[in-house]
């Protein structure tokens, strides 16, 4: 593994609103061993691909999002706002925030920044330390009442390491629909960290569309803290990255909240896509429903590790976790590990995993109706993907993700 010290030396001196965080991140990196396959969490990761990350400079050029990104062809959400986030400019510059959204004050920022990360035990994670060390800008918003939907564009430059960081704090009874769009540029890396704190009875519908390009890399950490009677739904779709690692961690701090996680990853060529989720009930009467789907073709690999922790305090929790996977070629690989860690004795928990190819009886049924085998396979894949895509919030159809997936 490439020495991270060299990469750290290439960073500019800590500065700006995240100066202290940068110092902390850099310190952590000097003291933390870079991941290798002997670490349980990185056991299956292609470490050679990780090495590429640390060869990319953080600050190279001004962002050229208009050139690289299909923003001109995808209209903004009709009733919401579009914000563009990059590492070197204020995302709220020239933006009038609508009712229900406001910037966190300095005090609020001090109180909240990193708090949810700590609850989710992200502090010690290597990808988070990378983000801490390099991110220089931040989108930090408070949500009050029912806010208009937000589309958040996470911009990325080619031949560059692109760090972005976001924090949302929802007040009691607040509601937010959020769609994040990350489209990797060629030979780039994107490090994204988002924290969302849901106060009592607040609701978030969170979507993430992450589509990479040639030799692009994504490290994405999603930290969610739920107070009682809050509801959080996450729908993630990722494809096209040489290496991607999506890690949503959710903590129901006093239980009695609802969490719904749906994920879809499609890998091709020699890509390696990973989703690692961790959900913890720190109180009773919590609910989690999770469905993770993967499809792998060519000689690519999809990995899913899903941990649900139900400690003794989490009595009457209700957890359901399902992993459904399609192997679309002989050389592709699927590794899936749904995992329930249950200590409480009065709970309803179920989990399961299936790995299969396209079903012959389904293909024959469609073919027996005059549909060619290629079109039949397309229809079946479409059905497989659509179950997840249909749940993306904020008029996500505008991004035509289905055709991107089918073109693969």
């Amino acid at each position: 593994m490439t020495d991270s010290n060299q990469w750290l030396d290439s960073l500019p001196a800590p500065n700006g609103i995240l100066e202290s965080v940068q110092r902390r991140g850099r310190e952590a990196l000097t003291q933390t061993k870079a991941p290798n396959n002997s670490f349980e969490n990185w056991r299956l990761t292609d470490i050679r691909k990780l090495e590429n990350l640390l060869t990319l400079p953080v600050y190279k050029k001004e962002n050229s999002i208009e050139n690289d990104f299909p923003l001109k062809v995808v209209r903004p959400p009709s009733d919401g706002i579009r914000l563009i986030l990059n590492h070197n400019s204020d995302p709220l510059e020239r933006v009038n925030l609508p009712k229900g959204l406001s910037s966190l004050t300095k005090l609020e920022l001090e109180q909240n920044l990193g708090r949810t990360n700590a609850k989710c035990l992200f502090q010690e994670e290597w990808p988070v330390a990378l983000n801490y060390a390099s991110a220089s800008n931040l989108l930090a918003l408070k949500v009050t009442g029912k806010a208009p939907p937000i589309e958040l564009i996470l911009s990325s430059n080619p031949n560059q390491f692109n760090p972005t960081r976001v924090i949302f704090v929802l007040e009691e009874n607040a509601e937010l629909d959020l769609l994040e769009i990350a489209m990797g540029s060629e030979e780039s890396a994107h490090s994204h960290l988002i924290e969302i704190h849901l106060s009592q009875e607040s609701k978030v519908q969170h979507g993430m569309i992450a589509i990479g390009k040639k030799d692009s890399h994504l490290l994405c950490n999603i930290a969610i803290q739920q107070d009682i009677r809050s509801e959080y739904s996450l729908t993630c779709v990722q494809t096209g990255w040489s290496l991607a690692r999506l890690e949503p961690h959710v903590v129901q701090v006093n239980g009695n909240a609802k969490t719904n996680i749906k994920g879809l990853q499609l890998s091709k060529k020699d890509q390696q896509l990973t989703t690692n989720t961790q959900i913890r009930f720190d109180g009773p009467d919590g609910m989690i429903e999770q469905l993770q789907k993967s499809a792998a073709t060519d000689k690519s690999q999809c990995i899913f590790n899903g941990v649900i922790e139900v400690p003794r305090i989490a009595q009457r929790s209700n957890a359901s976790q399902l992993s459904r996977n399609l192997l679309l070629s002989k050389k592709a690989r699927i590794d899936t590990k749904p995992e329930l860690r249950i200590i409480a004795d009065d709970v309803r928990c179920a989990h399961g995993a299936t790995v299969s190819q396209l079903k012959e009886d389904e293909l024959f049924y469609l073919r027996s109706r005059g549909i060619s085998s290629a079109k039949a396979a397309d229809l079946l894949l479409k059905g497989f993907y659509q179950e997840i895509l249909s749940l993306l919030p904020v008029e996500a159809d505008r991004w035509d993700v289905l055709n991107t997936l089918l073109d693969s």
């Binding site: 389904e362 027996s368 109706r369 005059g370 549909i371 085998s373 079946l380």
Partner: protein, 262 residues
């Protein structure tokens, strides 16, 4: 309706087939002309469903000898989708559920594949919806089922109605209906049977596969065949089905064994 001068639609000659290492069909012979309704009856495992799947081109089965001709053309090297396009329809005993695929879209794609073969213009979404609404009346099916995934969460009866709806849209020349009566209550059976009767025309042929007389009370076959051990043992008129209902299959098999001894 028997008409000596009608064109031959299906001609099966000495058909042998297997799945993996297991021989299932062992010399099937069958000729069906336009306008005729045939019924194949037989015990479980006699080869009835296998025969229907082989005619439709199921890739899991291998034809080891014999041939199947449809309107004079050898089907052996024809893909299942092409068999459908030229007018062969198989109504499934267990219609497959396909989550996430809209029933309406599936029906439209299938209908357009057939129309293309017939040299007709493909239907866009709006025109297709007009057509499908008319065809729904034939099977008295709730239009809400169009917006659901193919067969997903349908009851047994709804699945069978959906099969007949597909038959009505594809307008096949040869319809093979594999145990269409299974899972139907009496009212649903009458509706489905009425649909099949309406779709049977002088230029089409129908092959019913069934265990029971009750379907044949609603659809009168011109010929009844009894199948056992991968062969058609006996052929008769509609009265043969009544004899089977009364006496079971044993007597047919016994006659066959006696013949073999001779």
């Amino acid at each position: 309706m028997i008409n000596k001068d009608s064109k031959l639609i299906l001609e099966i000659t000495d058909l042998h087939a297997r799945i993996e290492d297991q021989a299932i069909l062992q010399g099937v012979n069958l000729r069906i002309k336009a306008g005729e309704i045939h019924a194949i009856m037989g015990r479980n495992g006699s080869g009835k469903s296998t025969l229907s799947k082989i005619i439709a081109g199921h890739p899991a089965y291998t034809v080891t000898s014999g041939e199947i001709k449809y309107k004079g053309e050898n089907l052996m090297n024809m893909e299942p989708e092409n068999r459908s396009r030229v007018g062969i329809f198989l109504g499934f005993q267990y219609p497959v559920e396909i989550p996430g695929v809209s029933n309406l879209e599936f029906l439209r794609v299938a209908t357009n594949a057939r129309r293309q073969e017939l040299g007709e213009e493909e239907l866009d979404t709006f025109d297709f919806e007009d057509l499908v609404q008319k065809r729904l009346e034939l099977v008295q099916m709730d239009p809400a089922f169009l917006n659901r995934s193919v067969n997903e969460g349908f009851s047994g009866g709804e699945k069978k109605r959906n099969e007949i709806l597909q038959m009505a849209l594809l307008e096949p020349s040869l319809s093979i209906l594999d145990e269409t009566d299974s899972g139907l209550d009496i009212d649903a059976l009458r509706i489905v049977a009425a649909g099949i009767n309406q779709l049977a025309k002088p230029n089409t042929a129908t092959l019913l596969i069934t265990h029971y007389q009750r379907l044949l009370n609603e659809i009168t076959p011109d010929f009844v065949h009894v199948m056992a051990s991968g062969r058609i043992l006996r052929t008769g008129g509609s009265e043969l089905a009544l004899d089977l209902e009364k006496d079971g299959y044993e007597w047919v098999e016994k006659i066959n064994k006696d013949k073999e001894k001779v």
